[in-house]
C-alpha cells in the first residue's frame, strides 16, 4: 500500500489507513462530540487547541477506499481524513495521489526563507499559469503556526510589497514546525479523457542554526521523512568565491562551509534510512547555489547559466543537464569540487542548480531588497526537477 510522509508529524503513514475526524454534526437523537485537546497531536505537533476527536475507519471487506465514515460516538458522517499518528487533518486529496514532502535545508544565511517565499510566490503566479494548474494553500496553518493570511502578510507581502528581508529563522522546538502546504491540481489527458490530479506539496523551511552541528541535524525529524531535498548552499562561503567576487561583509561574519552542512545531512539520511556502506541514498537532492546573481559579471553575459530554459508546461531536461555540468565546472573553478565528490559518493540522484531569489544583491545592512524589487532567476527549476522525478509534471528533452 502507498505511503507518504505526514506533513505535520513527518511519520511515514499508510494512506489506506488514515483516520477520520468527526465534523461535530451528530445524527438526530445523539449527543454531538465535544472538542477536546488531542494529547497525541499536542505531543507530536505542538498544537494545543481543542478539536473534534478522530477515529479509525470501520473494518470492511470492500477493497475500494471509503471516503466517508460515521463517527462511532455521535454517528455523524465525516470525510475529513487525518494522520493516524498525530491525528492532524490532512488536505482533502492528500491520499489520492503523490504528495511529496520537500525539505529546504542549508547553512546559516544561505537564503532558505527568501528562497521558499519566492518559490511559493512563483508557484502561485508564474508556474500556475505556465502549467495551467490550480495551486493554492491547503490547511489553516502555514509555515509555523500562522494562518494563510498571516503567512502572506509576514512573508510574501513583506518581501515583495515592502521590500524587507527577513530576520534569521528561529529553530523549531524538537524540529517540529508546520511546513507550507500547497495543493497542485492539474488537468491531464489519460486514455483520451481529461482527468484532474491533485498533489500536495509540503515545504519545510528549516532554520540554518539547526544545521550547525550533527546533534542539531539529527533532531530534525522532517529530514528523514522528506521525499526530496533542496539543499541551498551559500556560494559566498566557498573559498574560491571570495578571491573572485566582492563578498558582502555580513557573509564574512558567520561562516559555515557548505560541505559541512551537506555532510551532516548525509550522515543523518544514511543513519535514518539504515543504509549500508555500499549503498547510496535514494532520495533525490537538488543542490542549489543561491545568490548566483553575484557571479553574473564573473560568468560573462553569454554564459549558458544565464540563459533561462524554455517555459513550456514541462521540465526542460536538456537544459537541466547542461546547467548541471556548467555548475559542476563552476564549482571546480571555485575550489569546491569536494562537494561534487561527496555527492557522487553518497547520492544516487542529484543535480546542481544556480538560482537567485532576489535577482540582485540586497542591502544587507538595512535588510532591504534592492531598489528594483524582487526579480527571481531560475528559482523554480529545482522544484520542477523534483516534481518531474515524481511524475507530477512532464519532463522533456528539448535538444
Amino acid at each position: 500500500m502507498s505511503k507518504a510522509s505526514c506533513p505535520y508529524c513527518y511519520h511515514r503513514i499508510d494512506l489506506a489507513k488514515l483516520r477520520f475526524q468527526c465534523t461535530g454534526r451528530a445524527t438526530p437523537g445523539r449527543d454531538r462530540c465535544k472538542r477536546e485537546v488531542d494529547v497525541d497531536r499536542q505531543r507530536l505537533t505542538g498544537f494545543s487547541g481543542a478539536v473534534y476527536p478522530t477515529f479509525p475507519p470501520r473494518e470492511t471487506r470492500n477493497p475500494l477506499p471509503q471516503r466517508l465514515h460515521d463517527c462511532p460516538a455521535c454517528g455523524g458522517s465525516s470525510g475529513i481524513r487525518a494522520c493516524q499518528v498525530c491525528h492532524t487533518p490532512l488536505p482533502a486529496n492528500f491520499a489520492d495521489s503523490r504528495s511529496p514532502l520537500i525539505a529546504v535545508v542549508g547553512g546559516k544565511n544561505s537564503g532558505k526563507t527568501v528562497f521558499t517565499t519566492v518559490l511559493v510566490h512563483e508557484l502561485r503566479h508564474n508556474i500556475r499559469r505556465r502549467f495551467a494548474a490550480d495551486i493554492s494553500f491547503a490547511g489553516d496553518r502555514q509555515g509555523g503556526d500562522v494562518s494563510v493570511a498571516g503567512w502572506l502578510e509576514n512573508y510574501e507581502s513583506a518581501l515583495f510589497g515592502e521590500s524587507k528581508l527577513f530576520e534569521q529563522t528561529r529553530s523549531a522546538a524538537d524540529g517540529v514546525k508546520v511546513p507550507l502546504v500547497l495543493q497542485w491540481r492539474q488537468a491531464r489527458r489519460t486514455l483520451g479523457r481529461e482527468v484532474h490530479n491533485t498533489s500536495t506539496l509540503s515545504f519545510y523551511d528549516a532554520a540554518g542554526e539547526d544545521m550547525t552541528s550533527q546533534e542539531f541535524v539529527n533532531a530534525q525529524s522532517y529530514l528523514a521523512a522528506a521525499d526530496g531535498l533542496i539543499v541551498l548552499l551559500d556560494p559566498f562561503q566557498l573559498n574560491g568565491a571570495r578571491d573572485r567576487i566582492s563578498v558582502p561583509e555580513i557573509a564574512k561574519r558567520e561562516t559555515e562551509p557548505p560541505y559541512n552542512v551537506l555532510s551532516r545531512v548525509t550522515e543523518l539520511l544514511r543513519t535514518s534510512h539504515g543504509l549500508g556502506t555500499r549503498r547510496k541514498i535514494k532520495i533525490p537532492i537538488a543542490v542549489v547555489f543561491s545568490k548566483i546573481d553575484a557571479f553574473f559579471k564573473l560568468l560573462g553575459e553569454g554564459h549558458p547559466l544565464l540563459t533561462r530554459p524554455d517555459t513550456g508546461p514541462f521540465y526542460d531536461e536538456s537544459n537541466g543537464e547542461d546547467t548541471d555540468e556548467h555548475m559542476r565546472s563552476l564549482l571546480t573553478e571555485l575550489d569546491a569540487d569536494d562537494i561534487d565528490a561527496h555527492l557522487r559518493a553518497h547520492y544516487k540522484k542529484f543535480r546542481y542548480f544556480g538560482v537567485s531569489s532576489l535577482g540582485a544583491e540586497p542591502d544587507y545592512e538595512q535588510a532591504r531588497v534592492s531598489a528594483g524589487g524582487v526579480r527571481p532567476f531560475r528559482v523554480d527549476e529545482p522544484l520542477l526537477w523534483l516534481l518531474s522525478l515524481d511524475r507530477i509534471i512532464e519532463s522533456r528533452k528539448t535538444a
Binding site: F296, E301, R308, S318, D340, G359, D363, G373, R375, P376
Partner: protein, 885 residues
C-alpha cells in the same frame, strides 16, 4: 537613499505622539521629515515631496484612527509654518545637518536632567507608570522626542510598567483569615507558600506561582493535601496544622490560593505604606519573606499606585486642610482636636495662615485704590489660594474690574469708523469689550452713549456715526461671566468718510464710474487730471469719454457740512482709466515636460498682439469660462495660481518654464483688457514622479530592466528602440513584480530604453519625465556543433566541428580542446588543444574543422574556445555533444 517606509514611519514617529499635549510637537524635525543626514540635496527634496504626500494622504485617510490623523494634520500645520520661516532652506542637506547638530547639543542637557529626575523619583523600584511619565514629560520635558525619552529611561535604569490589579480581599471570611494569619505567625512562617512547601529560596505569586526550587503542585488543592499529609507525619506544630485546615477548606470552596497568598503578603506592605515607610524598606521586607525581587518591585509599585488612602484626623488633618487652601474648614477642625499640644500647634498654624490672608487682602485694596487692578487681582488670588472655602474672598475677587484696554484708535473705514485697541496683559480671548459712542466728547461710563460693540475681539466698526461732526468713543473691558466694567480707554474723531468702493469700466471709449458715499455727504466733487469735465449722475456715479489710447486720472472728494454750517472735505480718492482698444485672446498654447528631472513644465504660446499683457494661470480644475469670454480680474486671480518661471521669447512666441506640481493641471492664458481679462486657449498636462535607479541585466537573449517605483504609482511605460525596431510596453506594478522586472527580447544592435510613470487622474493621464538607459550591442554569436568518430579498439578518433555565425564575425582563432575527467574544461588550459584554426571572417555559411583526437580515458570532453576575447560569443551546443562517457 534609503527608501521611505510609511508603516515603520507611522509606528516610530507618528503613533507615539497620539496623546501629545496641544501644540506640543517634538522639535526633532529630522525624524519627523524622515531625513537621513547622509542625503544629498536632490534626495532631501525628493524625501520632502514623499513625506508631504504621505502626510496629506494619511491626514485624509478613512481607515486611520482620528488620533493618528490628528498628528498628521499637526505635522502639516507645522510644515506650513516651517516653510514660511525657512523657505527653500528646507530643501538643503546642509541645513538639516546644521539643525541636527545644534539640536543635539541643546537636547543632551535635557535628557540628562530627565534621567536624573527619573532616578530620584522612581529609582528605588526602577519602575514608572505610563501616566506618571506622561505627566512628567508634559510638565517639564515637552520637547523631547520618544527616542530621547527612551534614552533617558535607559540611563536612569527605570522602565515603564503598568500597575497590576491587586486583590483587595483575601477571599476568606474575615475571622477565618485572621486565624490563618495568626496561625502563620505562631508557626514562624512568613507566607502561605512557605506553609505549603516548606522553606523556599524564592517564589513568585503576582501573576502565577513559581518557586525555586520548583514545586509542581503550585498553590492548589493538591499542594494543600500534600502539606497536610506531611504535617500529619510529624508531631506538634499545631499552629501550622490549623492554618492548613483553613487552607484546605478554602481550596474546597474554590478560593484562589494564589490571590490569598498575595493578599497576605501585601496586607503588611499596605499598612506600612500608610504609615510612611519608604519603598526601599518595603522592598527589603517583601524579599525577606521570600518573594522574588522582580515580583516584589512590581507588587510595591502597584500598591503605591492604589488610589485608596486612609482617613487622617487631628493635627495632620488641619495641616492637610491648610495645604489644600481650606482655611475655614481648618478653623472648624480645630475644635475636634483633643490633645492640648496638638490643639495649640494647630491653632498656631491656622492663625499664621489667617494673618497671611489678611495681609493679601489689604495689599489688594491698596492696589485698587491706586488703579492697579492687576496687582489687586494677584493679591486676592493669593488670598483665595490660602482660603478657597471663604465665599466672601471669592466674591471680592470676582468684583475686581479688569485693567482697561490699551491704545484705542479711531480711523475712517469705508463709510464708517474703524475702532481698534490692544488687550491688556491680563485679558484673554474670552474678555468682553463694550464700545460706546457719544457725540461731541468721549463717554465716561458704559451707559453714557450708544453701544456700538459688546463682545470679545479687539476691533469694532461703527457704521452709524453721523458724518460732519466730532464723536467720542470709549471702550470698557469685563470678564467672560460679567462682573465690573474696567476703566475706559477713549478716542475722538471728526467723521468725514471719503467715497468708497469705486468701480470703473471703459467700453468703446466710454468711461462709467460708480461708488458709495455716506448719506450725510452734501456732494461729491470729481476733477480730471487734464482739466476736463465729467457728466455727474447724482452723488454716486459719472460718465466720461476717452479717445483711443488716451488715459485720464479722476480725483473724487466727498463734501460735508459741520454742525456750525462750515464746509468740510473728506480725503480725496484717485482712480485711473485708459482706452486700450480691443484685446485678443491667446489662440495657441502648447505644454511639454521640460528637459531635466521631469519636475518642470514648458508652456509656449503666441502673443495675440505685441503689446498684449498675458497672464498664465494654473489650476487643478478646468476653466469654467468659454474661450474668448471677458472675465473680471478678481475672478481671474481667484482661479488657480499665477504661473512664474523663466520666460524666453522667439518672435511672437513666448515660452515660460516653471516648476510643476505632480498631478493633472490646467493651464489657461488670459489677455488683460480694459474691461477684464480675455480667456485664451486652455491646455492640460499631468506630471507624475519619475522612476529612479533604472538598471539593466542581459540574460541570454533577454534584457531585464528594473527600477525603483515612486510611491503610489502603479503603471510604467517602457519605450525602446533598437536599430529599426521600436516598441512600447505598459506594465502595472503587479505585472512587474510577477515577471521580476520588465523583460524585452529585441534585435542585436544598441538598445535605447525610456521608462516613465503613468498615473490616472480625473482629467486624463499624468506622465513623468523619462528615465533613459542605453545598452551597448552584444558581440555576434558563433554557434558550433561537435561530431565524433571514435576508433573503438585503437582509441582516439576524429572530431568534426561545424561553425556558423548569425552575423558576420571578423577574424578569430578557434581552439578545439580535448580534456579528460568528469568536469567540463573551463579554458584551453584544462585540456589538450587538438586543433588551432585561424578564421578570416565567418558568416552564416557553415565552416567545418576536423581534428585528430588522442586516446583518452572516459569520461572526456571536446569543447571549443576562441583565442581572442570579445570578438564573438561562442555558444556551446548541448553538453551531450561535448561529453563522452
Amino acid at each position: 537613499m534609503p527608501p521611505f517606509d510609511p508603516k515603520a514611519y507611522e509606528e516610530a514617529v507618528v503613533k507615539p505622539l497620539k496623546r501629545r499635549a496641544a501644540g506640543a510637537l517634538p522639535d526633532d524635525l529630522v525624524s519627523r521629515y524622515a531625513i537621513d543626514l547622509a542625503m544629498a540635496d536632490p534626495d532631501v527634496a525628493r524625501r520632502l515631496t514623499e513625506i508631504r504626500s504621505h502626510w496629506n494622504k494619511s491626514a485624509q485617510a478613512q481607515n486611520k484612527p482620528l488620533s493618528v490623523k490628528s498628528v498628521y494634520k499637526a505635522f502639516l500645520r507645522a510644515d506650513e509654518a516651517l516653510q514660511r520661516e525657512h523657505g527653500g532652506n528646507l530643501g538643503r542637506a546642509d541645513w538639516w545637518r546644521q539643525y541636527d547638530q545644534s539640536r543635539q547639543g541643546s537636547r543632551a542637557g535635557q535628557i540628562d536632567e530627565l534621567a536624573q529626575t527619573l532616578r530620584t523619583g522612581f529609582g528605588d523600584l526602577g519602575l514608572v507608570s505610563k501616566g506618571q511619565l506622561k505627566a512628567l514629560l508634559d510638565a517639564e520635558f515637552t520637547s523631547l522626542a520618544p527616542d530621547e525619552v527612551a534614552k533617558a529611561l535607559a540611563t536612569a535604569s527605570v522602565s515603564e510598567a503598568d500597575p497590576v490589579g491587586l486583590p483587595q480581599t483575601s477571599g476568606l471570611p474575615d475571622v477565618q483569615y485572621r486565624e490563618l494569619a495568626r496561625g502563620l505567625l505562631d508557626a514562624d512562617l512568613n507566607s502561605v507558600p512557605e506553609l505549603l512547601h516548606g522553606q523556599l529560596t524564592s517564589f513568585t505569586v503576582l501573576r502565577a506561582f513559581t518557586s525555586d526550587p520548583p514545586r509542581n503542585a503550585g498553590l492548589t488543592a493538591r499542594a494543600v493535601t500534600e502539606a497536610v499529609d506531611r504535617e500529619n507525619r510529624r508531631s506538634g506544630n499545631q499552629a501550622a496544622r490549623q492554618a492548613l485546615n483553613i487552607l484546605a477548606s478554602a481550596a474546597k470552596n474554590q478560593v484562589d490560593l494564589r490571590e490569598l497568598a498575595l493578599f497576605h503578603l501585601l496586607e503588611d506592605v499596605r499598612s506600612h505604606h500608610r504609615s510612611g515607610v519608604p519603598t526601599v524598606a518595603l522592598l527589603k521586607r517583601l524579599t525577606g519573606r521570600g518573594l522574588a525581587r522582580d515580583d516584589a518591585r512590581q507588587a510595591i509599585f502597584s500598591v503605591l499606585n492604589e488610589s485608596a488612602q486612609a482617613p487622617i484626623t487631628g493635627l495632620a488633618a488641619v495641616q492637610a486642610l491648610l495645604e489644600e487652601g481650606r482655611l475655614v474648614a481648618a478653623q472648624q477642625t480645630l475644635s475636634t482636636i483633643t490633645g492640648s499640644d496638638d490643639a495649640t500647634a494647630a491653632r498656631t498654624l491656622v492663625d499664621q495662615q489667617l494673618a497671611r490672608v489678611r495681609q493679601c487682602r489689604e495689599a489688594a485694596q491698596q492696589a485698587l485704590r491706586r488703579g492697579d487692578e492687576d496687582e489687586a487681582r494677584q493679591q486676592y488670588r493669593q488670598a483665595v489660594a490660602l482660603a478657597s472655602d471663604d465665599p466672601e474672598l471669592t466674591s471680592e475677587l470676582g468684583r475686581i474690574p479688569l485693567p482697561p484696554p490699551l491704545e484705542l484708535t479711531a480711523h475712517p473705514d469705508g463709510l464708517g469708523v474703524r475702532l481698534s485697541w490692544r488687550r491688556a496683559v491680563s485679558h484673554d480671548d474670552r474678555t468682553r469689550y463694550r464700545v460706546v459712542r457719544r457725540d461731541g466728547r468721549a463717554p465716561g461710563d458704559p451707559g453714557d452713549g450708544v453701544v456700538v460693540h459688546d463682545e470679545p475681539g479687539s476691533v469694532a466698526l461703527d457704521r452709524e456715526a453721523a458724518a460732519g461732526q466730532v464723536v467720542g468713543y470709549a471702550v470698557f473691558a469685563a470678564g467672560e461671566g460679567g462682573g465690573a466694567w474696567s476703566r475706559p480707554a477713549t478716542a475722538t474723531i471728526e467723521v468725514l468718510p471719503p467715497v468708497h468702493d469705486v468701480a470703473l469700466s471703459v467700453e468703446d471709449g466710454v468711461v462709467s464710474a460708480r461708488w458709495q458715499v455716506h448719506p450725510d455727504a452734501v456732494s461729491v466733487e470729481v476733477t480730471c487730471s487734464d482739466g476736463g469735465t465729467v457728466r455727474m449722475t447724482g452723488k454716486a456715479s459719472f460718465t466720461d469719454r476717452l479717445e483711443s489710447k488716451q488715459e485720464r486720472t479722476y480725483t473724487l472728494v466727498a463734501c460735508y457740512r459741520r454742525a456750525g454750517g462750515a464746509a468740510a472735505r473728506a480725503s480725496a480718492v484717485q482712480v485711473r482709466a485708459a482706452n486700450r482698444g480691443a484685446a485678443m485672446p491667446v489662440t495657441g498654447l502648447r505644454l511639454a515636460v521640460a528637459p531635466g528631472d521631469g519636475s518642470k513644465v514648458a508652456v509656449t504660446w503666441r502673443l495675440p498682439d505685441p503689446d498684449a499683457e498675458v497672464v498664465l494661470r494654473r489650476a487643478e480644475e478646468p476653466c469654467r469660462w468659454e474661450f474668448g469670454a471677458t472675465v473680471p480680474l478678481p475672478e481671474v486671480t481667484a482661479y488657480g495660481s499665477d504661473l512664474r518661471g523663466t520666460l524666453t521669447a522667439d518672435g511672437d512666441w513666448r515660452t515660460l518654464t516653471a516648476e510643476a506640481p505632480t498631478g493633472m493641471h490646467w493651464y489657461v492664458p488670459f489677455t488683460i483688457g480694459p474691461n477684464g481679462a480675455l480667456r485664451g486657449h486652455e491646455a492640460s498636462l499631468g506630471i507624475a514622479l519619475p522612476v529612479t535607479d533604472l538598471r539593466h541585466q542581459r540574460l541570454g537573449d533577454e534584457h531585464v530592466f528594473s527600477w525603483a517605483w515612486p510611491e503610489d504609482v502603479g503603471t510604467a511605460e517602457v519605450r525602446w528602440e533598437c536599430g529599426e525596431e521600436k516598441g512600447r510596453l505598459r506594465l502595472t506594478r503587479q505585472q512587474y513584480r510577477g515577471a521580476g522586472g520588465a523583460r524585452l527580447r529585441c534585435g542585436k544592435g544598441e538598445l535605447k530604453v525610456r521608462v516613465r510613470t503613468v498615473v490616472a487622474a480625473s482629467g486624463g493621464e499624468c506622465v513623468s519625465g523619462d528615465a533613459v538607459l542605453t545598452v551597448r550591442s552584444a558581440p555576434p554569436k558563433l554557434r558550433y556543433s561537435v561530431q565524433l568518430a571514435r576508433r573503438p579498439l585503437l582509441g582516439g578518433g576524429t572530431v568534426r566541428v561545424r561553425l556558423a555565425a548569425e552575423e558576420p564575425v571578423p577574424g578569430c582563432t578557434v581552439l578545439v580542446v580535448a580534456a579528460a575527467g568528469a568536469v567540463m574544461p573551463r579554458g584551453p588550459g584544462d585540456g589538450v588543444v587538438v586543433l588551432r584554426s585561424p578564421q578570416h571572417g565567418l558568416g552564416r555559411d557553415e565552416v567545418e574543422l576536423t581534428a585528430e583526437l588522442p586516446k583518452l580515458r572516459k569520461p572526456y570532453w571536446i569543447r571549443c574556445f576562441l583565442e581572442e576575447e570579445g570578438v564573438a560569443l561562442l555558444v556551446d551546443p548541448p553538453t551531450k555533444q561535448l561529453k563522452v562517457s
